[in-house]
């Protein structure tokens, strides 16, 4: 299968949907003529023209509000918020407007749009350009939230998000943009709300998202070769809807649960899943569920500091092996 970068997959995913449906439009800061600050939208302006791919002022509220108004009245906008940290300046739309208009209007209004954003650490950008904020969105009824970990999933989940009738927050991981993966030719359409077992195993279940997926996979290989522990790794992919069946099914087999989360500790996505496991799979578990997260601190800029706060393969190996051998 041909390989492609995560960054090029973003371009291909958007292009696939814009080619299919003339109502799909795209807006954001520096996204059109400049091709995006992460170069993840290069060529879209040339391919689809200035009416469909639009540069905006530095007005995050206007970007999301305009996307919503367009979505309510018949378009299928994709809006870019350059860094997910900037959700904080336009959170009204994410928290109050997109997810509530259908409910408050008793089904009269719709909001079919996608907000895509650069999420996560690894670029040494410091505390305001590195956060993993997927949990900010997961807690809001009415939103859907996805975070792909590889190029093929980027394309397939982008298609699913654009075709979905609800507002979808699409987290791209900044540190994954240069990574490569195999991508089949032709149209790719995935489904929201489906987790993927990316490594089968029998001794423990490790749940991971986005950048944490390759780290969990690396750790699983080492756990096997160094400790004889056979881990099942699940790429959660979609926080809302949440594929609890795949997760609980895995627990019924492995009897141990670990989450690997880039978000800071409190109210991270793993906390919700651990609580579901405690409710519904308590008697399947042979030991306490363990969350491996970024500590509850703002992210530091220096590489030596940033590298030790994010969950690493080393930390995963150490935590899982200690926990299983105790």
């Amino acid at each position: 299968m041909p390989e492609m970068t995560y960054r090029d997959a973003v371009i291909r995913g958007i292009a696939q949907e814009m080619s299919r449906d003339p109502d799909v439009v795209f807006l954001g800061e520096d996204v059109a003529k400049a091709g995006g600050v992460f170069k993840a939208t290069v060529g879209l302006y040339e391919q689809f023209g200035p009416l469909r791919v639009r540069d905006t002022p530095i007005s995050e509220q206007a970007i999301l509000g305009a996307a919503m108004g367009a979505a309510m009245t018949g378009l299928k906008p994709i809006a870019e918020i350059m860094f997910s940290d900037f959700f904080a300046v336009c959170f009204d739309y994410i928290a109050n407007e997109f997810p509530k208009s259908r409910y408050m209007s008793n089904g009269q209004l719709k909001c079919p749009l996608v907000v895509r954003t650069g999420n996560g650490a690894g670029s040494r950008f410091g505390a305001q350009h590195s956060q993993s904020v997927e949990n900010w969105c997961m807690m809001i009824p009415g939103l859907k939230v996805v975070a792909p970990s590889n190029p093929a999933d980027v394309i397939g989940l982008m298609a699913a998000a654009v075709r979905d009738p609800d507002p979808v927050i699409f987290f791209e991981h900044k540190s994954l943009y240069p990574t490569k993966g195999e991508v089949p030719d032709g149209e790719i359409v995935d489904t929201l709300g489906s987790a993927k077992v990316v490594r089968p195993g029998k001794d423990a279940t490790i749940l991971a998202l986005a950048l944490m997926v390759p780290r969990a996979l690396q750790a699983a290989e080492r756990l096997k070769s160094e400790h004889g522990i056979d881990c099942e790794v699940i790429d959660v992919r979609s926080l809302v809807p949440l594929d609890t069946q795949t997760i609980l099914g895995s627990l019924a087999k492995t009897h141990r649960l670990f989450t690997v989360e880039e978000n800071p500790r409190l109210c991270g996505w793993g906390a919700e899943i651990v609580s579901i496991a405690a409710d519904e799979a308590f008697y399947d578990l042979d030991g306490p569920p363990v969350r491996i997260t970024t500590p509850h601190i703002p992210l530091p800029a220096a590489d030596i500091l940033e590298d030790i706060v994010l969950p690493t393969p080393d930390r995963i190996v150490e935590t899982v092996s200690k926990s299983l051998n105790s």
């Binding site: 007005s59 109050n96 259908r102 408050m104 209007s105 809302v240 579901i276």
Partner: protein, 344 residues
């Protein structure tokens, strides 16, 4: 008021056959009386504890809603605030549907799921009422962007208060609309107060909207918001401009709310005599006199008033008799599949 571009029109010899005409004038009067009577009734029902939650009345501001509503075409879109009963009624939504929602009954516009601050009637072009200050200005831009992109001829209107001109979303939306030349009309109802604080205490310029227009390359338009003819003419011109692809307008309407900010506010912060002075410029009084000056008979005028009262009375009775919403709507329409499932 040197900034007032469109003064109250002088009754001309041609009377009702001027650019507005008799039929439109009677419609504008009926809309204003409907809003007045429905809002007054909402207040009475609140005192009887039949309107729960909050409510923000437009008593005294009827001419703005009527003038804009009267200048809109079917298919045009309205984006309102929590003070949105008037704008909803002005698009032809029935009094029963509005009062039903205020009374949180099953016959309400949104069956009690939205409440008084979120009146929505997509069939009438009322694309929601928004309770986060400023949020809907960008949203109206988006609806206008869709019209521009698809070549649709509808115009979006966004109504908001003077206080809203000091929040970021106002400025983001104005710039965005101007740069993209969107068919959107921004209507600032300057009723002189935010909730309780006079707008002049907290704003760097005397005309909160008008004096900002120039920052976005727009004309400064400040009008008498208590004269439905002036509002209608200004709105009509803005809609023509928008439909011709000439971009957005920002219109500041000077007006005054007769009641407090919201249900329980006695409005003690207003200086003595201010309310009385504005009541002399009551939009309904002004318009009734206008119709009389133009030779409309007392009978035609009082028939409209009696008609509206009957409609409001009947609506009130229907709402009182209407059931509360059934519990099974609690979890409907969170997502587009009609339900609320967030997991499998």
């Amino acid at each position: 008021m040197s900034t007032v571009r469109d003064r109250a029109p002088q009754p001309a010899g041609s009377g009702l056959n001027d650019d507005i005409g008799e039929e439109k004038r009677l419609e504008l009067y009926r809309t204003q009386v409907t809003i007045r009577e429905a809002e007054q009734r909402a207040y009475d029902l609140f005192l009887q504890n039949l309107v729960k939650g909050t409510s923000h009345l437009s008593l005294g501001q009827e001419a703005v809603a009527a003038g804009f509503g009267g200048a809109m075409r079917k298919g045009d879109l309205s984006f309102c605030t929590y003070r949105g009963h008037a704008h909803t009624l002005a698009r032809g939504v029935s009094v029963e549907k509005v009062l039903g929602e205020l009374m949180q009954r099953d016959n309400g516009l949104m069956r009690g799921k939205g409440g008084s601050m979120h009146l929505t009637s997509a069939d009438h072009g009322v694309m929601g009422s928004y309770a986060i200050i400023g949020a809907h200005l960008p949203i109206a831009c988006g609806a206008a962007w869709r019209a521009q992109y698809k070549g649709d001829k509808d115009v979006s209107t966004c109504f908001f208060g003077d206080g809203t001109t000091n929040i970021g979303a106002f400025h983001e939306a104005l710039n965005f609309a101007a740069v993209w030349k969107l068919p959107v009309v921004f209507c600032c109802e300057n009723n002189l107060y935010m909730e309780y604080t006079p707008i002049s205490d907290v704003t760097a310029v005397p005309s909160p909207a008008g004096d900002r227009a120039g920052s976005y390359g727009l004309e400064k338009i400040v009008i008498d918001g208590n004269d439905a003819d002036a509002v209608f003419r200004t709105a009509r011109a803005a809609y023509e401009k928008a439909r011709a692809g000439q971009g957005p307008s920002l219109i500041e309407c000077l007006t005054y709310r007769h009641s407090g900010h919201s249900r329980a506010d006695p409005a003690k912060y207003r200086p003595e005599g201010e309310l009385d002075r504005w009541k002399q410029r009551d939009p309904i009084k002004i318009y009734r006199e206008r119709l009389q000056q133009f030779g409309v008979s007392e009978k035609v005028i009082s028939d409209i008033e009696a008609d509206v009262r009957r409609e409001v009375d009947e609506a009130t009775e229907k709402c009182k008799a209407a059931p509360m919403p059934p519990l099974d709507i609690l979890t409907t329409d969170v997502y587009a599949d009609g339900g609320w499932a967030w997991r499998n």
